[in-house]
């Protein structure tokens, strides 16, 4: 176990920072309030996601309304809606397309309901990740889950934008290399394999490399040294 010399030498209390005491107290208080809100947001998003599969079909409208409010809230919190909308459109096209291929047009409405439920499952999690910091989520999850699991979940959320940027970069560079993966080329299902091969495969390699680096970084900073962890007080 590492003993920090400075921590012993300069035991810190709020009274040591007389001029800044009030500001610091306020910051810590705000952090605690945010933490309570984050706990509520996690519980709310879990319940909402579960409801998407559990509620009766005639009650889906209420869920849609609540999720629309979440969308507006996330948009007000500067979250980017465009990638989410693209994902939902892609998801809808694939699911409805498969239903039509397998069962014909008579079960189209059923496909729409399934797509809606899938979207309603995903949307609360996206809202949570967009409006709460990964550190706060980690702090709450560590009360419920083993520390390692809490770290894995929150780090996964944190690196989502990085993964998205990596995916975009790889897609663009492969387009410039002549890959048949432009939106027009992807209208032809034959070219879908090229997308998998030259975008998803290198992305997977990048993700494996990223997870290895993050694990090294965390271990090197004594992540596995102690079973109990404290938390940074300012969020």
């Amino acid at each position: 176990m590492i003993h920090l010399k400075s921590a012993k030498r300069e035991k810190y209390t709020l009274t040591d920072l007389a001029p800044e005491k009030s500001a610091l107290n306020n910051a810590i208080l705000r952090s605690k309030q945010k933490l309570i809100l984050c706990s509520a947001a996690i519980a709310f998003s879990i319940v909402l996601s579960m409801s998407a599969f559990l509620v009766l079909q005639q009650h889906l409208g209420y869920l849609l309304l609540i999720n629309a409010c979440l969308l507006v809230h996330a948009w007000l919190c500067q979250a980017k809606l465009a990638p989410l909308i693209k994902l939902f459109i892609f998801q809808s096209l694939v699911t409805i397309g498969l239903y039509v291929l397998l069962y014909g047009q008579e079960r189209l409405f059923e496909a729409v309901i399934v797509v809606t439920r899938i979207i309603l499952v995903m949307l609360p999690s996206w809202w949570l990740a967009s409006t709460q910091s990964s550190h706060q989520i980690s702090q709450v999850l560590s009360l419920l889950l083993p520390t390692k699991w809490a770290f894995v979940v929150t780090t996964s959320i944190k690196v989502l934008p990085f993964i998205g940027q990596e995916a975009r970069d790889i897609y663009h560079i492969q387009c410039l290399r002549g890959a048949r993966i432009t939106p027009k080329a992807l209208m032809n299902p034959i070219n879908w394999y090229e997308l998998v091969k030259c975008v998803l495969f290198p992305l997977l390699i990048q993700l494996l490399s990223l997870s290895k680096h993050i694990a090294h970084s965390a271990n090197q900073r004594h992540f596995d040294k102690s079973s109990t962890h404290t938390h940074w007080p300012l969020n």
């Binding site: 290198p202 900073r221 596995d224 007080p233």
Partner: protein
């Protein structure tokens, strides 16, 4: 006091060849060691082995002093930062050591002060430049008060300002009795602080005589005229527009362009008209985060967050519009590799653009990569992957070649090969723009584009008689 010692260490790779054989190293308190070596010789792995020996299946003996506390900074800051604000990032290690929450505050502030990162503790990590992120990683290690710092290739990541700041921090640490081990191709910026310089060759460390002459030699081998190039700006004069001869055969021009970044805070302005002609080699220089990559993205049509006029081969840039006439090498180009062999990787674009497959062998020969032609690109070292990606762009023989930081991580062996390939490409009428966060290779350039204070200006380069 000996902090760390490696005695007769051997490490086998997955293909049963030895990465290290009879490797010995002893690090005492307050010493600064620098380890150089060819790309792929195992420098980075050596740092990891020193820091986390229990994660390797090695033979020999690695001794850690009971008092040893190691700080390790790897190459890419983006993949090591785990929190969203700078305070939380530095405190991550303290959280793991169960330091009480209120005790963290002064420790975090002290660590940030040591690296000169005087920013509010709740500053988002995403708002930092690359140089600032590097210093943040340093602070995240210093918060443990380590007595041995291991640092992997900082020169490739940081601009001159970042290197100056890092050297200051390291000098202070050495004076405080902390030991430092730097793995670096270019040792010149660290010459004043290095006590022991090592060359990692054939799996063993060989001590290099440390003298000013040795340093100069090292620099000249490393990057042509790098030593002089840092003074390049004083030898440049503002480019005069209106050179009629030069206006002909214009492949790229940017007029009155303003680029707005995604976060809509900073912008890059190009007030005058800057242009690129056949046979030109243009250096795009500016500090970390000044917008070099963003400018490339506008030129190739990946992004259109600009106002003004960009004309590439007579057209407004759009992704995929220029086919084999445009070659673009992104940062960390190993990301683009996906084929099973190096040769297939090069042939991919040739097949898609209907070009002769013989181009692949020609470029592999030119870059001394032919022995790797049937190897998997995913098993190559970072530098080799970098070169394969470069070759895959070069082999389509585009009219314009855009290279975003193409020399990062290249060693003395591969650097001249890339330079020669670029010269050959230019002599055959190809136009090149390459970016770097420090002015380099003035003897190679037709002109340079400098980004300072969010303004890009075009300059002629006065080539030296030599």
């Amino acid at each position: 006091m000996t902090l760390l010692a490696l005695h007769q260490v051997e490490l086998q790779q997955s293909d049963s060849t030895y990465l290290y054989q009879n490797l010995n190293l002893q690090i005492n308190a307050g010493e600064c060691h620098c380890i150089s070596g060819a790309t792929g010789c195992g420098k980075t792995t050596l740092l990891q082995l020193m820091a986390m020996p229990n994660q390797f299946n090695y033979q020999g003996k690695i001794t850690h002093s009971p008092a040893l506390i190691i700080g390790l900074i790897m190459q890419d800051p983006h993949v090591q930062l785990v929190r969203e604000t700078i305070g939380a990032e530095v405190a991550f290690g303290l959280e793991n050591l169960s330091v009480p929450a209120l005790d963290m505050l002064p420790l975090v502030e002290q660590a940030l002060a040591k690296v000169g990162l005087a920013l509010p503790l709740n500053t988002p990590v995403t708002h930092l430049s690359l140089g600032q992120k590097y210093r943040l990683m340093l602070a995240a290690q210093l918060v443990f008060e380590p007595n041995l710092m291991l640092i992997d290739e900082p020169w490739a990541q940081l601009d001159n300002q970042g290197i100056t700041e890092l050297c200051q921090v390291l000098t202070d640490l050495l004076e405080a009795g902390v030991s430092v081990v730097i793995v670096e191709h270019n040792t010149a910026p660290f010459t004043d602080m290095i006590d022991f310089q090592w060359q990692l060759t054939s799996g063993a460390l060989f001590c290099v005589t440390h003298s000013p002459q040795a340093s100069d030699d090292n620099i000249s081998r490393h990057s042509a005229s790098l030593c002089l190039d840092d003074k390049m700006s004083v030898n440049m004069m503002q480019h005069q527009n209106g050179d009629v001869a030069a206006q002909s055969n214009c492949l790229l021009s940017l007029s009155d362009v303003t680029i707005r970044y995604a976060n809509q805070i900073a912008t890059l302005h190009i007030s005058d008209t800057v242009s690129l002609h056949a046979g030109d080699i243009v250096g795009l220089f500016g500090e970390n985060g000044c917008g070099k990559t963003s400018l490339f993205n506008q030129i190739v049509g990946v992004s259109d967050e600009y106002k003004g006029q960009i004309s590439l081969l007579g057209k407004t840039p759009k992704l995929g519009l220029f086919g084999a006439n445009l070659g673009f090498l992104m940062q960390r180009p190993s990301r683009q590799l996906f084929e099973m062999t190096v040769l297939q990787e090069l042939e991919f674009s040739l097949k898609r653009f209907g070009l002769p497959l013989a181009n692949a062998t020609e470029i592999l020969t030119q870059l001394n990569l032919l022995p790797l032609a049937s190897d998997s690109p995913h098993k190559l070292s970072y530098g080799q992957q970098h070169l394969v990606a470069f070759a895959s762009v070069l082999c389509i023989k585009p009219q314009i070649l855009l290279l975003d930081d193409p020399f990062a991580g290249l060693d003395n062996h591969y650097f001249p090969l890339v330079i020669n390939a670029l010269k050959h490409f230019s002599e055959n009428g190809g136009a090149i723009i390459f970016s770097s966060h420090r002015p380099i290779l003035s003897s190679l350039l037709s002109k340079c584009w400098l980004i300072e204070q969010q303004q890009l200006t075009e300059h002629n380069v006065l080539k030296r008689a030599s």
